[in-house]
């Protein structure tokens, strides 16, 4: 019996505690990301944003959450019930499980697996299922159109994200996320790989269905796209999952290009702050750019979106993989 506790029970309990330490801050971050989005876009458009509930409207996300929980959950009669309910759960789960491999500070990671970056890539490429299942199960035109758009869009931009990841791997020599961050000591990858950084960020916008690539939910033409038929908690799960995905994509950008938890200069005032603070600051900065882009740019037209993905990003990123590999071989810059 004692063996049962030491070998199975305590490690399991310890892992659950660690998971809670990741998920709870993440959900609070998601709540305040929605608040920040409304505030930032409000100020950029000379409005106040939410300012009624609590001081500066700081309790607004919780009021929204409470409202969604109290609403009636409607399942359309013609819908496919199981798939209809499965879709938001899938989106939400996928938004969370990516965080299992994200190193938020040196050694602060739930599971430091060898193929961390591939795992993240897999999780982000699965995000399309929540949307396509929701669109199909709703049995309604607008959601279905949104889902089809989203499927094509996410598959297209995954390809260039894949090539960007390959370049970073060439420069690192490892698929482990902690190794990728540690390889950036001294020089963050966004300097030598700047074009790939830009491509990754834009593809990240497309992959998370954010403006200017938010065609799956284009409210002007598709009402609200794939989540038209959803209400109450099912809608809330979509919402939470999408924003968690946004934070995950920002964390990926930070780890691949902005040096993860490393301070910008390894000298006195900078390295006083612990790694987690630097990591959060960088993620917040990338998220701010996400919101800034949404407030600034008009939505892409669908054919332009496809052209950008297949005719601009794909050839360019492929070329840059070859250039990077060539440079590494020619100048003998092999990562150790």
């Amino acid at each position: 019996m004692a063996e049962f506790w030491t070998i199975y029970a305590w490690p399991t309990l310890w892992i659950i505690i660690k998971i809670l330490f990741i998920v709870v801050p993440l959900l609070i971050a998601v709540a305040y990301l929605t608040y920040a989005e409304r505030k930032v876009i409000g100020f950029m458009q000379l409005r106040m944003g939410p300012n009624v509930v609590g001081p500066f409207g700081l309790l607004q996300p919780f009021a929204d959450g409470l409202k969604l929980m109290a609403k009636e959950a409607i399942i359309p009669t013609r819908s496919n019930r199981v798939v209809f309910l499965l879709a938001p759960m899938l989106t939400f789960t996928l938004g969370l499980i990516g965080w299992a491999v994200i190193p938020v500070a040196d050694g602060w990671v739930l599971s430091d697996i060898n193929v961390g970056i591939l795992y993240l890539f897999a999780v982000s490429s699965l995000g399309v299922y929540g949307i396509i299942m929701a669109g199909w199960a709703s049995n309604s035109i607008y959601p279905f159109l949104g889902a089809l758009r989203s499927a094509a869009q996410m598959v297209s931009y995954e390809v260039s994200i894949g090539f960007v990841i390959v370049t970073v791997l060439l420069a690192t020599g490892s698929l482990n996320l902690s190794d990728i961050v540690l390889a950036q000591q001294g020089l963050w990858f966004f300097i030598p790989l700047f074009p790939m950084f830009v491509i990754f960020f834009i593809s990240g916008l497309a992959e998370t269905n954010r403006a200017p690539f938010d065609l799956p939910e284009a409210e002007a033409e598709l009402v609200s796209g794939y989540n038209v038929e959803y209400s109450a908690m099912a809608f809330a799960l979509f919402f939470l999952g999408e924003y968690a995905n946004m934070i995950l994509m920002s964390a990926m950008t930070v780890i691949l290009f902005l040096g993860g938890w490393l301070p910008p200069f390894d000298i006195a005032p900078f390295n006083w702050l612990p790694g987690i603070i630097w990591f959060s600051l960088k993620v917040s900065f990338v998220l701010f750019v996400f919101l800034w882009v949404r407030a600034t740019l008009p939505r892409y037209r669908y054919d332009q979106l496809m052209r950008l993905g297949w005719k601009v990003f794909l050839p360019f990123s492929l070329l840059w993989v070859v250039v990077t590999a060539g440079a590494i071989v020619a100048f003998d810059w092999f990562p150790t």
Binding site: N80, N114, V115, S125, L126, Y129, L148, A151
Partner: protein
Amino acid sequence: MIIQALTFYLFALTAIAAGVMVISARNPVHSVLFLILAFFNSAGLFVLIGAEFIAMILVIVYVGAVAVLFLFVVMMLDINFSELREGFLQYLPIGALVGIILAAELILIFGGWVINPDAAQIIAAPSAAPSEITNTHALGRLIYTQYIYLFQASGLVLLIAMIGAIVLTLRSRPSVRRQRIAEQVSRPVEDVIEIKDVPTGSGI
């Protein structure tokens, strides 16, 4: 370890159950979803034998890309379910034949290993099992050094298949008006837009 055994049976049973559901589900979209579940569980089995790279590639390529397109096509098709049911008995003999042949071959292979234990020793072991490097490195070394020509040849096959698919589907339609990006980009700025300096908060 007992947990590993339990997870193996969990993944294996779910994979088989999902596989059965793929062919027995009434709705083709459900079939594809079960297929995805089967892929996932196979990826889990790969992780259990320590092939984490192949597991991730399986998820990325099959679940993340191939199955999405599958689902895409199946959802777009207007399928008459009752008609689909009627064909079932008609194809049953052929399907059963294929299944029996596959089963017989597997039994022959594994039975051979039982009868002659030496045969199991000579199955492909292209290099010693790597102990100090990750299996991503091991695969890379193997594919890009020992099997580079075969690797290139399979790449060529894929390239030809891709070109073939493009040739089959590409048709030029002269009647369609296309956007000429180069023309638009090369227009002088002053012809196209007028920049106004708007003071903040007042509008035009």
